[in-house]
C-alpha cells in the first residue's frame, strides 16, 4: 500500500521495470490493479464491510429475540435476516477475508513477486461487490429477499419462494465464479512460483492449508452452482428435480447441497489452522510441534470432508446403514482435528510465551474452537443428533467454530501481519481491549445457546415459548456487546494505517518465514529476485 522501497532491487534494470508498473493514482489504482497486495487489501476491506452488514442483521435477529412475542419485525422479514446474515457471513465475510489473506501473504511467504494470474485476480475480486449488491438489493424487492435459510432447502426455495429467488441464484453464481478463480490462482501460484529451495515440506502451513482449501473450492463450488441452477429451473422453467410430483426428490436437494456444504465448512476453517500454526510458534519462540503431522492431518480432514455430508441430514429418513456410515466417518474427523490441537498445545509446552494481541486471539481460538469441536462430536452421534438437530445447540456449535474459530483466526492474522502490511505497529492497548471485550461477550452470546438447544428451542424461529425468555435475553445482550466490540477493531486498523510506531522488518521476536525478511511495509512487488531458501 506504500511506494516501493528501493533497497530490495538495487539493479537499475529491475528498477526501470518497476517504474513501468507504478500504479495509477486514485480510484483507477484500485479498479485496474493487478497487484496482489492491492487486491488483498480490497478483499480484506470488502470482508470487513460485509462483516459489519451481516453483523447488523444479527443485531436485528437478537433484538427481535430479546423478548418473547413479536416486537420489531414480522416473521417473513425475520427469516430474510437469518438467511442473508448466513449468506453474507459465509460468502461475504469469512471466505473473502481468507482470500484477502492468501493474496497478501502467499507470494510473500513463498518468495514470489506476485500471484501467478494477476488479471484474473483483479476479476475475481471485482465481480464480488456486484454479487452482494444483487443479494442485498433483493431485500428491497416486493416480497423481500431470500427467506428460506442460507441452506435454501427445496421446495421452500422453489415452489414456495418469491420471485427474488432468481436474484439470489445469480448472486450465488457470481460468488462461486469468484471463489473458483481465486482458488485457481492460489494453486497455480503455489505450484509454480515457489522460490528455489522452497520444497513442499518447507512450505509455511498457511500456504499448505490454503493449497488444500483451494482444491476443496474447485471441487465443490461447481456443485453449488449446479444445485442453485436446479433451483432456478425448478422454480422458473418447470423442471422437477426436487418435486416428487414430477419424479424428483426434495431430499436429493439436501444431498447435493451438503456435498458442497460440508467441504465448505472446512474451506472456512483450514486456513485458520494455517494462521494459528504461524502465530503460536512465533509467540512461544519455539518451532511448531509436528509440522509434517499437521500437513497430513489437514489433508486427511479435506479427504474426510467429502464423506460426511449426510450428517446434516440424519432426520431426513435415511436407511440405518447410511446413518451408521455417516456417523462413523464424522466421528473419524475428530482424530486429525485432535492431532492439530495436541500439536498446538505441545508447541506451547516449554516455550517462552508472551501475550501480544495475535497470540491472545490464537489461544482463544484453540480453546473455543475445541469446545466447538466437542459439540461437533456430540452432533455426530446420530441418536443424540435427533434431539440436537435444528435446535439452538446446533447454532451454538457452528458459531463456536465459525466465530471463535474462523473469525478469531482472521482477527489474529490481521493483528499479526498488520505491521508488515502498513509499516506501523498497531495500538497494543486497543488491541488487547478489543480482545477482552470480544472474548467475554462472544461467550455470553454463544455459550448459553447450548442450554437453549438442549431445553428444546428450535432454530430459525422469531418467537419462542416463555420458558426460554431469560436465556435469550442474556444471549441478546452478549450479541450487542460483541457487535459493539468489533468497532474497536475498526478503530485499531484505521489508526494503524494512519500512523504509529514504525515497524521493523520483523516485529515479532519468534516469527519465522520469508515475509519477515522484506521491509515493513512490504514493497509493492514482494520479491523481484527470488530469495534462496536453504
Amino acid at each position: 500500500m506504500k511506494t516501493l522501497t528501493p533497497e530490495i532491487d538495487s539493479q537499475p534494470e529491475a528498477h526501470q521495470e518497476h517504474d513501468h508498473h507504478q500504479p495509477p493514482k486514485g480510484i483507477m489504482r484500485w479498479l485496474l490493479t493487478t497487484n496482489h497486495k492491492d487486491i488483498g487489501s480490497l478483499y480484506l476491506w470488502f470482508s470487513l464491510i460485509m462483516f459489519f452488514i451481516g453483523g447488523a442483521m444479527a443485531m436485528v435477529i437478537r433484538a427481535e429475540l430479546f423478548q418473547p412475542g413479536l416486537q420489531l419485525v414480522d416473521p417473513n422479514f425475520f427469516n430474510q435476516m437469518t438467511t442473508v446474515h448466513g449468506l453474507i457471513m459465509v460468502f461475504g465475510a469469512v471466505m473473502p477475508a481468507f482470500t484477502g489473506l492468501a493474496n497478501w501473504l502467499i507470494p510473500m511467504m513463498i518468495g514470489a513477486p506476485d500471484m501467478a494470474l494477476p488479471r484474473m485476480n483483479n476479476w475475481s475480486f471485482w465481480i464480488l461487490p456486484f454479487a452482494f449488491l444483487i443479494l442485498l438489493g433483493s431485500l428491497f424487492m416486493e416480497g423481500g429477499g431470500p427467506s428460506f435459510g442460507w441452506t435454501f432447502y427445496a421446495p421452500l426455495s422453489t415452489t414456495y419462494s418469491n420471485d427474488s429467488t432468481a436474484l439470489f441464484v445469480f448472486s450465488v453464481h457470481i460468488m462461486g465464479i469468484s471463489s473458483i478463480m481465486g482458488a485457481i490462482n492460489v494453486i497455480v501460484t503455489i505450484v509454480n512460483m515457489r522460490a528455489p529451495g522452497m520444497t513442499w515440506m518447507k512450505l509455511p502451513l498457511f500456504v499448505w492449508t490454503w493449497l488444500i482449501t483451494a482444491f476443496l473450492l474447485i471441487a465443490v463450488m461447481p456443485v453449488l452452482a449446479g444445485v442453485v441452477t436446479m433451483v432456478l429451473t425448478d422454480k422458473f422453467f418447470g423442471t422437477s428435480f426436487f418435486d416428487a410430483a414430477g419424479g424428483g426428490d426434495p431430499v436429493m436437494f439436501q444431498h447435493i447441497f451438503w456435498f458442497f456444504g460440508h467441504p465448505e465448512v472446512y474451506i472456512m476453517i483450514l486456513p485458520s489452522f494455517g494462521i494459528i500454526s504461524a502465530i503460536v510458534p512465533a509467540f512461544s519462540r519455539k518451532k511448531l510441534f509436528g509440522y509434517s503431522s499437521m500437513v497430513y492431518a489437514t489433508a486427511s480432514i479435506a479427504i474426510l470432508s467429502f464423506l460426511v455430508w449426510a450428517h446434516h441430514m440424519f432426520t431426513t429418513g435415511m436407511p440405518v446403514f447410511a446413518e451408521l456410515f455417516f456417523m462413523y466417518c464424522t466421528m473419524l474427523i475428530a482424530v486429525p482435528t485432535g492431532v492439530k490441537v495436541f500439536n498446538w498445545v505441545a508447541t506451547l509446552w516449554r516455550g517462552s510465551i508472551t501475550f501480544e494481541t495475535p497470540m491472545l486471539f490464537a489461544i482463544a481460538f484453540i480453546i473455543l474452537f475445541t469446545i466447538g469441536g466437542f459439540s461437533g462430536l456430540m452432533l455426530a452421534i446420530t441418536p443424540a443428533d435427533f434431539q440436537y438437530h435444528d435446535t439452538y445447540f446446533v447454532v451454538a456449535h457452528f458459531h463456536y467454530v465459525l466465530v471463535t474459530g474462523a473469525i478469531f483466526s482472521i482477527m489474529a492474522a490481521a493483528y499479526y501481519w498488520l505491521p508488515k502490511w502498513t509499516g506501523h505497529m498497531y495500538d497494543e492497548r486497543l488491541g488487547k481491549l478489543h480482545f477482552w471485550c470480544s472474548v467475554i461477550s462472544v461467550n455470553v452470546l454463544f455459550f448459553p445457546m447450548h442450554f437453549l438447544g438442549l431445553a428444546g428451542m428450535p432454530r430459525r424461529i422469531p418467537d419462542y415459548a416463555v420458558q426460554f425468555a431469560d436465556i435469550n435475553q442474556i444471549v441478546s445482550i452478549g450479541g450487542f456487546a460483541f457487535g459493539l466490540s468489533q468497532l474497536i477493531f475498526l478503530a485499531v486498523v484505521l489508526k494503524c494505517i494512519k500512523g504509529g510506531e514504525k515497524a521493523p522488518a520483523k516485529p515479532w521476536e519468534g516469527a519465522e518465514g520469508l515475509e519477515w525478511t522484506i521491509p515493513s511495509p512490504a514493497p509493492y512487488h514482494s520479491f523481484s529476485t527470488p530469495p534462496e531458501v536453504k
Binding site: M141, L156, F289, G351, S352, F374, P383
Partner: protein, 379 residues
Amino acid sequence: MIRNLFILLALIITPASLAEEMPLNMTRGVTDISERVYDLHMTILYICCAIGVVVFAVMIYSLIYHRKSKGAEAANFHESTKVEVAWTVIPFIILILMAIPATKTLIAMEDPTNADITIQVTGSQWKWHYRYFDQDIEFYSLLSTPRAQIENQQAKGPHYLLEVDKPLVLPINKKIRFLMTSDDVIHSWWVPAFAVKKDANPGFINEAWTKIDKPGTYRGQCAELCGKDHGFMPIVVKAVSEQEYEAWLSAQKQTAEAEKAQAQAALSQTLSMEQLMTEGEAVYLASCAACHQPNGMGLPGVFPALKDSAVATQTDMLNQHLDVVINGKAGTAMQAFAKQLTAQQLAAVITYERNAWGNDTGDMVQAADINNHAKQEAK
C-alpha cells in the same frame, strides 16, 4: 447488563434456581429410547469434558509457567513420532467406545416393526394433520395461542406457542408407529420427550415410532424451517391410559357422526349475511390470515391480497373464487381447503372474503352452493 451478567453467573453456579422455568439439559423423556438417548448424550458430554479438562489443564499450565516474563527459555523439541502415534490411536479407541452404544441405540430407534397403532402425520404450512389408521379418525391440529398474546396485547399464558386446539391423543405402553409426510414444504415432527424427530417430506413417507411409559401432556415444535410461520406450528401429545384412549376413540367417532349430520343439515340451511360474516371471520382468522393477513392485504410479492382483488370482488369470478378455496392452486402455497373445512365454513369464509375490508360485493355463498360446485366438478 450487569444485572443480566449476574443472572448468568447465578445460572452457572446454581442451576436449580431457574430449573422450574427452563431445564438446562436435555430431557430424559418418557420412553425407553429417550432415556437411552439421554444416557448417550451424558456419556459423550462427560468424555468430552474429561478430554477438555486434560488438554486445557496442560495448556493453562504452560501459559502460566512457560511465560517469557517468568524467565522461561524455549525448549528445542519439535517432533516425536511416538507422541503423534499415541495421540492418534488413543482418540481413535475412545471413539470406538462411543460408537458402540450409539450404534445399538440407533438400530433400536430405526425399527418401527410390530407396531400396535399407526398414525399418519402430515405437515402443511403451518399445521399438523393426524390420521388414525383403521379408526376412521382424522383431524387438523392448529396453534391455539391467541394472536393478541403474540402481538403483546395480552399477557402470555404458561404454554405460550406450545398449545393447540386438538392434541394428538395416544395410549401409553403401546408401540405407536408414525408415518410422516407433507402436503407442501419439508416439516419436521419433533417431540423431545419421545426423542422422535423425523422430517415430513412432500411426496415421500418416513417412519418413526415410540412407546410412551407415562401418561401426561408432551409438547414439541416443528423443527425444519418451513416458511413464515415455522415458529408457530407446535405439537401437543396427550398420552393416556388404554381405557381412556378407548373412551376417547368412541367419543371421537360420535362427534364425527354428529358433525356429519350437522353438515348434512347445513346443506339445506340458508344463513343470513350477518351469520355468514360472523362465522366467516372466525374461519378466516384461523385458516387464512397467516398468509393473506387479517386485513386482507396479503404480503406483496409473497401472498396475494384479497382486498380489492379481482377474484374476490368481480361477480363473474365467483366460481373461480370457490374453486381456488376448495381445491387450492397448484404450484403455489394456496392449499385445498375442501378437506380442512366443512361446506358451511367454506361458504362463510368465501362470503366473508367477498364482503370484508370494503370488498362489499353483497354476494352470499351458502353451504349448498359449495356442495353444488363440488358436484359440477365431479361431472
